[in-house]
């Protein structure tokens, strides 16, 4: 079995796959060429906004005894943390802003406002997740090692508790992420390198210590008699960020239509096929500008997975071109409103808590498909009078 057998793509010829790859390479080249002052201005604006929100939140919480101030301060701080983790941290660590040659906004230097050390995130996310996106047994983002997210994963009675595990994961997502690169499964199987484990735990311990000292000791102490109110506000801000980031991230790969792959399908994968796997394994959601900024432009998850290191502010424009490619080649492009995508994700988590025989598969994306993708020499010759893309022009 190889990638050519992925049924969503069986209608494409090898030449078409290569042509799609070339078109996507062209999009990348155009963006790389045109990065400049406007992009830098954008990220500086977001950085300034984020730091002002954080400062405003902390200052407001000096009045945390007063319930409206508690609410406002918590909301400001929660938004600051969301913005930092999503539009700044996640994207900066991908190297989206490295081209500016600015050490203050660079993947090698960015440390983010959460308990996972940046170094470990860059391994577990940039490398493992982005290279092996949605490949069972490789990509630990499929259920974060505790949820069954694909019908191809074996069911176990322990999966019955999935809805509860998911709720806990959402609430304490930050901690799930912190432990992500440890690779719990490898530890369980006794395959983990012990010195590496020790080093990682020490790094995590350091980061957790600093983060906790700030949110749960320093600021509460500074507000004196309102220690408890400030502490609960900071705790709540972290929870808000956790629930939001969990939701956005799960909407990226688990709505209906986002496909999982097997190791065999990766065999001899070309760059063009990697592109196609990224498109089929990711899902977008629609929304206004504010929603996209607050989700680090991950509503353009497909574009992000195609070009993880291009500046996030360009994804909206890239999506127009990618959609056009998908339409012309009749490739699924999964998107929908956020509530729908999130609903589908929750439905999958519920369904898969039960064995496969108790549930039905979710509706799959519609596209013409055959058992196996035909090689060009197996197909009838294209009728020249139909023009190059006549087959899909009316679609």
């Amino acid at each position: 079995m190889a990638f050519a057998d992925v049924r969503e793509y069986t209608h494409l010829t090898d030449a078409e796959v290569d042509a799609i790859g070339a078109e996507l390479d062209q999009i990348r080249a155009e963006i790389e060429e045109s990065r400049g002052q406007a992009d830098r201005d954008y990220i500086l604006r977001i950085i300034t906004l984020q730091r002002r929100l954080a400062a405003a939140g902390r200052i407001t919480l000096f009045a945390s005894f007063f319930p409206p101030a508690w609410l406002l301060g918590t909301a400001l701080l929660g938004s600051a943390k969301i913005l930092e983790n999503m539009e700044l941290g996640h994207n900066a660590m991908h190297g989206q802003w490295d081209w500016m040659n600015d050490p203050e906004i660079h993947s090698s230097n960015w440390e983010w406002d959460t308990t996972q050390p940046a170094e470990q995130w860059k391994h577990s996310h940039n490398y493992i997740h982005h290279q092996f996106t949605n490949v069972l047994g490789h990509d630990n983002d499929i259920g974060y090692g505790i949820l069954r997210m694909s019908r191809d994963q074996k069911w176990h009675p322990v999966n019955l508790g999935q809805p509860i595990y998911n709720a806990l994961l959402a609430l304490f997502f930050e901690w799930g992420v912190a432990l992500h690169d440890l690779d719990i499964e490898a530890i369980r199987k006794g395959e983990k390198d012990i010195p590496l484990l020790k080093k990682q735990l020490k790094q995590i311990g350091n980061k957790v210590g600093k983060q906790s000292l700030k949110d749960y000791v320093m600021y509460p102490l500074l507000t004196g008699p309102f220690f408890l109110q400030t502490l609960t506000a900071n705790f709540t801000a972290n929870i808000i960020r956790n629930v939001w980031t969990h939701g956005i991230i799960f909407c990226g790969h688990f709505p209906d239509g986002a496909v999982h792959f097997t190791e065999e399908e990766l065999e001899d994968e070309t760059r063009a096929e990697w592109y196609l796997r990224q498109m089929l394994g990711s899902a977008n959601f629609n929304g206004n500008k504010l929603l996209h900024v607050m989700s680090g432009q991950l509503g353009y998850q497909i574009e992000h997975h195609l070009f993880p290191d291009l500046p996030s502010n360009r994804y909206a424009a890239i999506s127009v071109k990618v959609k056009d490619i998908c339409k012309r080649y009749d490739i699924p492009y999964t998107t929908g409103p956020l509530y729908k995508q999130y609903g589908q994700t929750l439905r999958t988590i519920l369904k898969l808590s039960l064995p496969n025989r108790r549930t039905t598969d979710n509706p799959a994306p519609v596209s013409p498909r055959k058992e196996r993708r035909l090689r060009d020499d197996e197909r009838p010759t294209r009728r020249s009078e139909l023009g190059k893309w006549s087959g899909t022009a009316s679609a």
């Binding site: 002052q37 830098r40 730091r51 500016m100 040659n101 050490p103 090698s108 983060q211 500074l222």
Partner: protein, 362 residues
């Protein structure tokens, strides 16, 4: 060099630690810089205060450095300056032309716009007062000891005058210039930076001789003419700064006479020692892209070849913008031939080559 106040005072240091704990994973500077861009030590910064034209295509930039800057540089040293142009930072190195500690809270560099040099042109013609630039701390050993030697010779070509200006102004400031000859070449009189200031200096100090040479009319000052221009050059401790061919020619002359230890040279390009490093496979970040390189390709060039967005500055081992920690393996410094192989040791990628397989922690 004296440490900045913030590092000398225990109270301030404690306050800083407290601020760091409150702003982790950022630093207090990241917030203070929102109020005033100079209130940050994360990267040394400066604000362009004035741009003073020197000749038709040269200007002196008067810069007010921000927090963390130490003003007592040695005359003759250079700094790195990073300027933003269309969203990207570009770094260059320029000698300080100012005298340490006397301009108040500013330093100066003098820049000549080079044909085809988009950065030098931008620095001379494109910088508005108020622009914030990044700076790298003064360094370099093109300095005159204190007290200076009894007899000195300055061999200067073109914009190589800037470190020498800082040296002469400092001596003037102290009130005495030892027996010194300045042999200074420029294309024309209009093109000769600081020509009036130097002529005045020559009038004021009998011990200071200013030999002017205009190369459009008289040709370059060649080593065989030195006996005529400065007959006693062999007795003089010499500082030379200018174009590479000129420096090469005079280095050969001094070598012939066994006087190389009397010659101090400032070059603004990376002089690559003959590297016998083995080269190898370089890995950029654990699990990251790899590239096979020979022993002459710098790790920075290798990374760029592998499509990695590497941070860089001067590309000659000065500014430390390109430093990254070494995860494993051994690298060799092209300038000194010294090998570095300590895990987590920071190496300068722009002047280091692979000595066997190595991995950088990006």
């Amino acid at each position: 060099m004296t440490a900045p106040l913030i590092e000398r005072s225990t109270a301030l240091r404690r306050l800083r630690q407290l601020g760091k704990a409150m702003t982790t994973p950022l630093s207090p500077d990241d917030y203070l810089a929102l109020i005033n861009p100079l209130w940050s030590q994360r990267e040394l910064r400066g604000r362009i205060e004035r741009v003073v034209p020197e000749t038709e295509n040269a200007a002196t930039l008067v810069i007010r450095p921000g927090w963390g800057w130490s003003f007592d540089h040695a005359p003759g040293q250079y700094i790195g300056i990073g300027v933003e142009l269309d969203g990207r930072f570009h770094w260059r190195s320029y000698s300080l032309s100012s005298v340490p500690l006397v301009e108040g809270r500013t330093v100066s560099i003098t820049v000549k716009a080079m044909p085809e040099g988009f950065m030098s042109d931008h620095l001379v013609n494109g910088l508005e007062p108020g622009t914030i630039v990044r700076l790298a701390a003064p360094q370099g050993d093109f300095v005159v000891p204190d007290p200076p030697p009894a007899k000195m010779l300055m061999l200067v070509g073109g914009s190589g005058i800037t470190p020498v200006m800082s040296i002469l102004r400092t001596l003037d400031r102290r009130g005495s210039i030892p027996d010194t000859v300045l042999a200074y070449s420029a294309r024309t009189e209009d093109d000769m930076m600081f020509v009036h200031e130097l002529r005045v200096l020559a009038l004021r100090y009998e011990s200071f001789t200013f030999y002017e040479r205009f190369t459009d009319a008289d040709g370059m000052l060649t080593p065989d003419q030195l006996d005529t221009a400065v007959p006693d050059w062999r007795d003089r401790e010499t500082w030379a700064c200018g174009p590479a061919p000129m420096l090469d020619a005079f280095s050969t002359l001094y070598e012939t006479y066994g006087l190389l230890d009397r010659l101090h040279v400032e070059r603004f390009t990376l002089a690559r020692a003959d590297s016998n490093a083995a080269g190898g496979t370089v890995t950029f970040g654990v699990g990251g892209p790899t590239v096979d390189v020979d022993g002459a390709t710098t790790l920075l060039e290798a990374g760029e070849k592998a499509g990695v967005n590497m941070l860089f500055g001067c590309r000659m081992g000065i500014c430390h913008t390109c430093d990254v920690p070494l995860a494993s393996g051994t690298v060799r410094d092209l300038r000194s031939g010294v090998e570095h192989g300590e895990p987590n040791e920071y190496i300068q990628t722009c002047v280091s080559v692979a000595a066997g397989d190595c991995t950088l922690a990006l």
